[in-house]
Each structure stands twice: as C-alpha cells, then as structure tokens.
Amino acid sequence: MNSDKNSSAQKRTKAMNFATMRAVVAGYLVYLGGSLIYDYLKSRSDMTPVQAWGFGLLFIAAGVGYGLYTWKRWQAEAASAEESEDSEQS
C-alpha cells in the first residue's frame, strides 16, 4: 500500500517536473518574441517591421499556447496520478 502511494507521488512529481520544463520553454518563447518587438521599437534591430512583428507575435502566440497546453496537460496528469492512487487503495 505504502509503495503504491509512493509510486503515485512519484508520478505526480514527474508530471510536475515536465510541466516545469514546458513552462520554462513557454516563458522563454514569450521572452524571445517580446524582445524581438522591443528591440525593433527601440531601433536596435536590422529587421524589417514585418519580420520583427511577424516573428515576435509568432513566438509570443506559440509561448502562450504552449503555456496553456502545459497547464491542461499538467492538470490531466495530476488527476490521473490521483485516480490511480484511489483505485489502488480501493
């Protein structure tokens, strides 16, 4: 019983580690996109407006989307870890 609990806690921890890494990647994408637009607005970029805004918005959108995906996936994985713990107990 105790090892079952340990195993579901381990599953949850692993899910959290993955969610963390995905969140870091999502945050970094937003940062990259934001800095492309910021540098363009501050005239510190060789890019054309279309390139700066295009890539900037693309990265921001991808980062935000991936962040939401990470949140949903983390919730699903945490719920599945809890479910497996409940079913093992019953």
């Binding site: 090892s3 340990n6 195993s7 381990q10 921890t13 692993k14 959290m16 580690n17 993955f18 963390t20 890494m21 995905r22 870091v24 990647v25 970094y28 994408l29 990259l32 996109g33 800095s35 492309l36 540098d39 363009y40 970029s45 060789d46 890019m47 700066a52 890539f55 693309l58 990265f59 991808a62 991936y66 995906y69 996936r73």
Partner: protein
C-alpha cells in the same frame, strides 16, 4: 548484426558528435574557415566556460529525475557581486575567491535543504532563488556596474588577452606556444594509455570488446582532433586559463558520476526513486548533494564571469540557466532523469557555442540569432505536442 544495423547503432550512439561535426563544417564553409582560426577557437572556450561548468552541475540535478535549477543565473550574478564588492574593498584575491565559492555553496545548500528535506518542489524553490538573488544583486549594486580591478584575479580566472597559461618553454622570437603542444601530446598519450588498458581489461575479463581496428581508427580520429586544436591554440597564445578550469571541472565530475557511489546513486534515483529508497539509500542526501553542488559550481561560474567581463552588474547571468539546461538536453540527458553523461553535456554546450559564435562571425544580427533559437524551440514544442497526440 547486419551492416545496416551496425551503421544505425553507430549513428544513434554518436548523434551529437555527428551533429557537432556537421554544424562546424557548415560554419567553416559559410565563414570561409574563420571559425577554425586560433583566436575563434579560444573565444569558443572562454565565452562558453560558464556554460560548460553550469551544465555539468545541472546534469547532476537532472539525473535525479528531470529536476532543474532555475536560480543558477541569479546565483552567478550574486556571487560575482559579492566578490566584486569584497575586492573593491581591498580583500585578498584568494580570500575573495574562497568567499565566493562559500557563498555559492551556502546558497546551494539552502535551496537543497528545502528540496531534499522539506520536499518543496525544485521548481518552486529555485524560482524563488532566481528572484531573491537577482533582487539582492540589484540591492547591493544599486543598479550600477562595479569594476573588478584586481589584475591577478582577471589573469587567473578571466578570458581576456592576458589570460593564458605562461609558456615555460618559450624561446625568444618564437610565437608558437610549446607548453600547449606538450600538454596536447601528453593528453593524447594519456588517452591512448587508458583506451588500450580498458580494452585489455575487458578482453581479460571476457567482456565484449570492439575489434582492434575499430579501437585503432577511433583513437586515431580522437588524437588527430586533439592535436589539431592543440596546434591551433599553440599558434595563438596557448592555453586559455578558462580551459584549465573547465577541464578540471569536467575531469572531476566525470569521475564522480562514473566511478563513485554518489554518482551511481544519482543515476539510481533518476531510474526509480522509490526502489532506491527501499534499498536503503538516503535519497534526501543525494538530492542535497546535487543542489548544494549546483550552488558551488554557480559560484565558480560567477568567478569566471566577473573575471572575463572585469566587472559586476545586476544583469549578469541572465538566461544562463537556459544555456545550462539546453546543453544538458542537447547532450543526451533525459528529462525523466537517470540518463546523461558529463562528456555528452560538454558536447551539447560546445554545439551551442559553435552555433552562437558561427552566427556572430557571419555577422548575423542578434535578433536573427533569437529567431533561430526560437525556431529550434518551436520545433521542439511541436515535436512534444505531436508525440503526445500519437501516444494517446
């Protein structure tokens, strides 16, 4: 084993080395060979020394089960700030170095305590550390730059024009660094000795070994690569000091991860934490070791950073954690933990370094470099989402 399987397993085993060779070849072509000029090879080492060191420490954290340390960039900055302030007040250089390492270790131990003994998730603990130590650096420096004027410190830990190991065999009028060549030849001799000894030991023990010609071809290629870079470095100013620190860290941690009990425990926890604990190993101590050690190495990276940039600034160390984490995963560490080696991580860091410096030599605008990084990340994100869909 058929030839096709052999080729496939070879490619699988040496994917990152092949990628490194291809990327280097690409930039050699695009920069007309400039990337392999002695000064650029030195730059790759000096500018990426902090990545090599942080990635080695990060590997130990990742081995414990895919855990990462988000605070390393801020710790690098804070340790550098402490050192710069101490030296500006006239503290002895070596005392300041010891103090910086101690501060790094203390911060690492503080975070390790929460992670290992209170079971606060590493992500939360180190995210807090990232904010705390960045903030403290700002408070101490008040948003200003503090120069590091200690010349001996800069020469020993820095990456500038004077930061090379003095050539004890130097002859008047000759610019070729003989000490560098001697070190290169010795490295090759040591490598050959250990390779042949290991092959011999395996043969005696009746274990499977590569055929002699494969060992020979592999050795010839590695010796040729070592000698090529040795001669390139010798043609410029010899061995950069940063290389000495990196090699020391790599050798020590390769030994720890592959030959010591602690190293085995790190892999064991990453493989199956519950089984490791049930077999009587105190996993808390191993977690503590991994994160305290990360603090110590962040301290060393802080020393190298302020010595290379000859100043301390509250913005130093930004995104260093990303470089370290990226190098680990590129170098073959598994996000599940329990898989990865120090040499693999170094190859990952080298690959990133070559891409960065290659783009700089090509004169690619910093923003285009960000676009390349972003596109690589996007590819990884798409791969992650698609592979999950396929699995489910």
């Amino acid at each position: 084993m058929t030839t096709k399987t052999k080729v496939l397993s070879f490619i699988q085993k040496y994917t990152m080395i092949i990628a490194l060779v291809l990327v280097t070849a690409f930039f050699t072509w695009r920069t007309n060979g400039k990337i392999l000029m002695p000064q650029n090879i030195t730059n790759i080492i000096s500018q990426n020394a902090y990545v090599f060191i942080l990635a080695t420490g990060m590997l130990l954290c990742i081995l414990t089960g895919g855990n990462i340390d988000l605070s390393v960039g801020s710790v690098v900055c804070f340790v550098g700030t402490v050192g710069a302030v101490m030296m500006s007040k006239g503290m002895n250089m070596w005392l300041a170095v010891l103090l910086m390492l101690a501060v790094g270790l203390l911060i690492g131990s503080w975070q390790a305590f929460w992670i290992a003994y209170v079971k606060v998730p590493p992500f939360i603990t180190t995210l807090a550390g990232m904010l705390i130590f960045r903030g403290l650096s700002n408070v101490v420096l008040q948003g200003k730059t503090l120069p590091v004027k200690n010349e001996a410190f800069v020469r020993i830990f820095g990456g500038g024009a004077k930061c090379y190991v003095p050539d004890i065999f130097a002859r008047e009028g000759s610019t070729f660094n003989i000490l560098c060549l001697v070190v290169g030849i010795l490295t090759c001799a040591i490598y050959l000795f250990f390779t042949l000894r290991s092959a011999n030991t395996r043969k005696k023990a009746g274990l499977e070994t590569d055929p002699m010609y494969v060992t020979l071809i592999k050795s010839i290629i590695i010796v040729a690569v070592i000698m090529f870079f040795t001669i390139r470095l010798a043609q410029y100013k010899g061995l950069p000091m940063a290389l000495i620190w990196v090699v020391a860290v790599v050798l020590i941690y390769t030994y720890i991860t592959s030959k010591t009990t602690v190293g085995r425990y790190l892999y064991a926890i990453g493989g199956n934490e519950v089984a490791t604990r049930l077999s009587g190993i105190d996993t808390r101590k191993i977690y503590f070791f991994a994160y305290a050690n990360m603090g110590l190495l962040a301290g060393l990276a802080g020393i190298l950073t302020i010595a290379r940039l000859t100043s301390a600034q509250p913005t130093y160390g930004q995104n260093y954690e990303m470089d370290a984490i990226g190098s680990c995963f590129i170098g073959g560490a598994s996000a599940y933990g329990g898989v990865g080696t120090v040499p693999g991580v170094i190859i990952g860091a080298l690959l990133m370094g070559v891409i960065n410096i290659g783009m700089s030599i090509m004169g690619v605008d910093a923003n285009w470099q960000k676009v390349v990084k972003g596109l690589v990340l996007l590819a990884a994100v798409i791969f992650d989402v698609v592979s999950k869909k396929k699995n489910s």
